[in-house]
């Protein structure tokens, strides 16, 4: 993939050099048209004959290039060489012919002849940079880094510099893994030709982690060219650090070009599913060019990022513009969803009531589920039940499943949640939990999940510990969930207590492996390497088929390395 820009250059180079022997009129152009037609239809033999005829009629460069393509169709790349030998003798300074000759020879692996052809071209034009540049391009295209390096070094030696070959030098340095030098060269390229940012991106993409800071420093030093910032922003997304990518672009002065760059960056960040960064980018676009459409897109991103307050503000902005621009039917549901997540159920009901005349009864009815979930998060299950009565049947089923769960009607909840086919990771987790028990009623399970829905982590921990006491078959899983919540709250000592209990009481359960891994990691972070080692070893020895064993082995390797230091 990284060679695509280079391929374009190789072909582009060939075409650029073909101007003065290319323009054809009269019989030659008719024959050429016939040849191209035959080539396009895959009739290679016919195309070859026609291209030969075109060359004889004077269409030398287009004829040769066509001949090269047609022979490639029949996997006879070297068959173009006799024609090239004859033509080069007639037109020794024609770069396109020389270039085609180098391409063909390197492609078929006739390295020595390629080298001789290069030398002949160089001697024909001793002060020209073209022979070096074109040969280096061909070699780079075939991944012959060291050979290309030699050609460029020779250019420096004979011509005094590689000016005019900046792009090749940049490509070469990246190919050889000289990342700092490559970054410098690419920056220089983009100073002159900003549109090479995509080529720079592909070339620098494999930069190892240890060199990335150097590349960042070089690309952004002083008044960095716009192309360098764009390339670096793209690289950051691919390197898994999209936030830094946005930092390189956020400070650009607001103008139409910048907005276009931000929007393009937003597409890339969206593909990387970096919702938080996407929210920031789209908020910046909205600030610079406020429209309801921008606000809606940013609000949706904010919801996915869990930035509910920002989503709420943006959803309201989308409804406050000029009347023609207002997006009520998009904005109100987002506003309701944000309010529901924030547990502001009464506000959500008021918003829905106020928007009802504009939205119409069907849309209002579809929001009943959101209102019900808002009441659940607010801790009022009765109001949630009342709200769901207004919902369409399918939404009512979904909410009913959750309400049954929170009420401890496990059997009903299991059936209702299982029947739904909407993709919802939370539902899958609940079903996995419920699958471990045959109980049909459990107040403690209901309370545990209700506490999770309300975002009340302290109560959730207590409730899951109660589940562990009430249901022996769920003890290890419920204890592990409680420990995870402790971990999320930064209460590591309490999490460790639960892991220890889980391992002691249910040492053979699948959850014990995770408990041992986390417990060992905590011990390592706290500097107790012996305890950490004991936990990891216990995991491997007592759960040899666990998917966590490779992680435990890596942790042991890490400990060994630390011991060595």
């Amino acid at each position: 993939m990284r060679w695509r820009p280079l391929l374009a250059l190789v072909i582009g180079g060939a075409l650029a050099g073909s101007v003065h022997l290319a323009a054809q009129t009269g019989p030659a152009s008719t024959v050429l048209a016939r040849a191209i037609d035959a080539e396009n239809q895959g009739r290679a033999r016919e195309a070859i004959a026609a291209y030969r005829e075109a060359i004889a009629l004077g269409a030398v460069v287009p004829g040769v290039l066509g001949l090269e393509r047609a022979f490639a169709l029949v996997a006879q790349e070297d068959s173009v060489l006799p024609a090239l030998d004859t033509l080069i003798a007639k037109f020794p300074r024609e770069g396109s012919l020389r270039n085609a000759q180098l391409r063909a020879l390197v492609t078929v692996g006739r390295e020595r002849e390629a080298s001789r052809a290069f030398i002949a071209w160089r001697e024909a034009e001793p002060s020209a940079i073209d022979p070096y540049r074109e040969y280096a391009r061909v070699l780079l295209f075939h991944g012959r880094m060291a050979a290309a390096d030699t050609v460029l070094a020779e250019a420096v030696q004979r011509l005094g510099s590689t000016r005019g070959m900046l792009l090749e030098v940049a490509q070469l340095r990246a190919g050889l893994g000289r990342w700092a030098e490559a970054a410098g060269s690419w920056r220089e390229v983009m100073q002159e030709e900003p549109y090479f940012e995509t080529a720079a991106f592909y070339a620098m993409l494999p930069t190892p982690v240890a060199f990335r800071d150097t590349v960042r420093a070089i690309f952004t030093a002083g008044s960095a060219p716009l192309g360098a910032r764009q390339a670096l922003a793209q690289l950051e997304v691919s390197w898994g650090t999209p936030r830094r990518g946005w930092e390189w672009l956020a400070s650009l002065p607001v103008r139409d070009t910048t907005i276009a760059i931000w929007q393009q960056f937003a597409e890339e960040v969206e593909r990387a599913e970096a919702w938080g960064v996407l929210t920031d980018v789209l908020v910046a676009v909205q600030r610079a060019r406020p429209t309801s459409a921008h606000a809606i897109r940013a609000a949706r991103a904010a919801l996915r990022a869990g930035a509910d307050t920002i989503a709420l503000r943006l959803a309201r902005e989308a409804q406050q513009g000029p009347p023609a621009d207002r997006r009520m039917t998009d904005g109100v549901p987002i506003e309701l969803e944000a309010l529901a997540r924030l547990g502001r159920a009464a506000d959500a009901e008021r918003v829905l009531a106020a928007a009802a005349p504009t939205l119409g009864p069907e849309i209002v009815r579809r929001q009943a589920r959101t209102i019900a979930m808002a009441w659940i998060r607010a801790g009022d299950v009765d109001r949630a039940r009342r709200a769901v009565r207004e919902a369409p049947i399918e939404d009512a089923d979904l909410v009913a499943g959750w309400l049954a769960l929170y009420a401890g009607e496990i059997g009903v909840a299991r059936t209702a949640l299982r029947q739904l086919d909407t993709p919802d990771p939370q539902r899958v987790e609940v079903l996995a939990f419920l699958a471990r028990t045959s109980a049909t009623q459990s107040r403690s399970i209901g309370e545990a999940f209700l506490a999770v829905a309300r975002g009340d982590s302290a109560r959730a921990i207590r409730a899951f510990e109660q589940v562990a006491r009430d249901h022996a078959e769920l003890a290890s899983l419920a204890t592990l969930v409680a420990a995870r919540i402790h971990q999320g709250r930064g209460e590591l000592a309490k999490a460790a207590e639960l892991w220890a209990r889980l391992v002691a009481q249910d040492g053979q359960s699948p959850e014990a492996a995770e408990a041992l891994l986390e417990w060992g990691r905590l011990a390592r972070r706290q500097g107790d390497r012996a305890a950490a080692r004991a936990r990891f070893e216990q995991l491997i020895l007592s759960h040899p088929t666990s998917a966590l064993v490779p992680q435990a082995r890596r942790e042991l390797d890490r400990l060994a390395l630390e011991d060595r230091r």
Binding site: T150, G177, P208, F211, P550, L556, D557
Partner: protein
């Protein structure tokens, strides 16, 4: 059974024991650590075997059998060690072992007893990160213990307490691989230069080249008295140059303030060197190469040769057990990798040097072995088998991602090779 009837207590116990015996598989007598493609972690298999030797458990190295498998007694501690390390083991009973030995006797295979864990030292600067040296990486990953020694230890202590010393990319000509022209202001370069100068003063040497030549002499003496030396990368070539050039100025101005002796080539005493002879020094101070020993010349753009692949020679396990041990592998052809010294020019090898691996048709070889006095040495060109283009400052190789690396296996073959020295060797 008749209702209400109970067997006598002793009978119940016997039945229970019999049932347990049926339920539990009989413990096999041996564990085979296969080293062919059935092995999940080749590198750690060496560590498990080394650990067994350290604990006084005798093992056998089955040369040319399943990639150079190891045979160990079936002990719970070894099963545990293998499981922790993720090393594949196969239980072997006496009958299977007999069949295996018969097959080995009939083919080009042999079993070499491994008797004691060699004592290992790695010659490495005190501040070197563990990933700067492939051997350090390999030993750490495999869980094989070693001592780190530096110039003071080489010059001051009795090296005979070690069986095996490893050198990596030190420049024994004292020129820091001629990197001064590029890195002279880099903090790491300045630090290492100051450290070496202080060490030279401490041992009464006038400059770094003199210090390193003294160290090289001690290392050669270690081999001469029966030690095993394994060197990689630039330490191979420069150790030889330092030995042969002991009484000649072979270092440039940045190293000792004076240019090389223009007649240095003619004054080199190659009788003192272990592996090479007749090499020509690189006299140009700006050319980043030491001599024509290295075939690839990676840091000289106009001379740099491309990387290819190298093939391991197959040796007779029965008649050439030493060379056989050094080339045990589950791959016969390996991809090449650069180092400041990547390969060794054939024409510079002394007669009698055993070529262990070469690139077919190339004027260089990759992996060589020989004896010197009562000891032996092995040289492997290149820096890191899993980082073919390794550059200064490159990130560390994570061996957990290369547990089956055939290149790293060559290094570990050398580690276990001294464990077999008690057996009369025919090479």
């Amino acid at each position: 059974m008749i209702a209400g009837y109970r067997l006598p207590r002793m009978a119940r116990r016997l039945i229970a024991l019999a049932l347990m015996a049926i339920a539990m598989p009989a413990r096999a007598q041996h564990l085979l650590l296969p080293m062919d493609d059935a092995q999940a972690n080749h590198l750690k298999a060496y560590g498990v075997t080394f650990g067994a030797l350290r604990d006084g458990v005798r093992s056998e190295w089955l040369l040319n059998y399943r990639g150079g498998a190891f045979l160990l007694p079936d002990l719970p501690s070894l099963r545990r060690a293998a499981l922790l390390a993720g090393v594949s083991v196969e239980a072997i009973d006496a009958a299977t072992l007999r069949t295996l030995r018969t097959a080995m006797a009939e083919g080009n295979m042999d079993a070499v007893p491994l008797e004691k864990a060699p004592r290992i030292a790695i010659y490495t600067p005190p501040d070197a990160p563990p990933w700067d040296d492939a051997v350090t990486l390999a030993l750490t990953y495999a869980g094989i213990p070693y001592d780190a020694i530096w110039d003071d230890a080489v010059l001051d202590t009795d090296l005979s307490k070690y069986d095996w010393i490893h050198l990596h990319h030190e420049d024994f000509t004292g020129q820091q691989h001629k990197l001064a022209s590029v890195y002279r202001d880099a903090p790491w370069f300045v630090r290492s230069r100051e450290r070496d100068l202080a060490m030279a003063r401490r041992f009464g040497q006038g400059d770094i080249p003199a210090l390193k030549k003294a160290v090289a002499g001690r290392l050669a003496a270690f081999v001469e008295r029966g030690g095993f030396l394994f060197a990689m990368c630039g330490s191979t070539e420069t150790l030889e140059l330092a030995l042969a050039g002991r009484d000649v100025d072979i270092a440039g101005v940045p190293a000792d303030g004076s240019p090389l002796d223009p007649a240095a080539d003619g004054k080199m005493d190659w009788l003192r060197a272990m592996a090479f002879g007749g090499a020509a020094l690189e006299m140009a101070p700006g050319v980043n190469a030491m001599s024509d020993i290295d075939g690839h010349q990676v840091n000289v753009p106009l001379r740099r040769q491309q990387l290819g692949t190298f093939s391991l020679f197959g040796f007779s396990a029965k008649f050439d057990p030493v060379a056989s041990m050094l080339v045990q592998n589950h791959r016969a052809v390996l991809r090449d990798f650069y180092g400041v010294t990547t390969s060794f020019t054939r024409t510079r090898l002394k007669p009698g040097v055993t070529i262990l691996a070469e690139e077919a048709g190339a004027p260089w070889v990759k992996y060589v072995h020989g004896t010197f006095g009562r000891g032996a040495w092995t040289y492997l060109g290149g820096h890191d088998p899993e980082d073919p283009q390794h550059a200064v400052g490159a990130p560390p190789t994570d061996l957990a991602l290369h547990p089956n690396s055939p290149g790293y296996r060559l290094i570990l073959n050398n580690v276990l090779f001294p464990a077999a020295k008690q057996k009369p060797l025919k090479t």
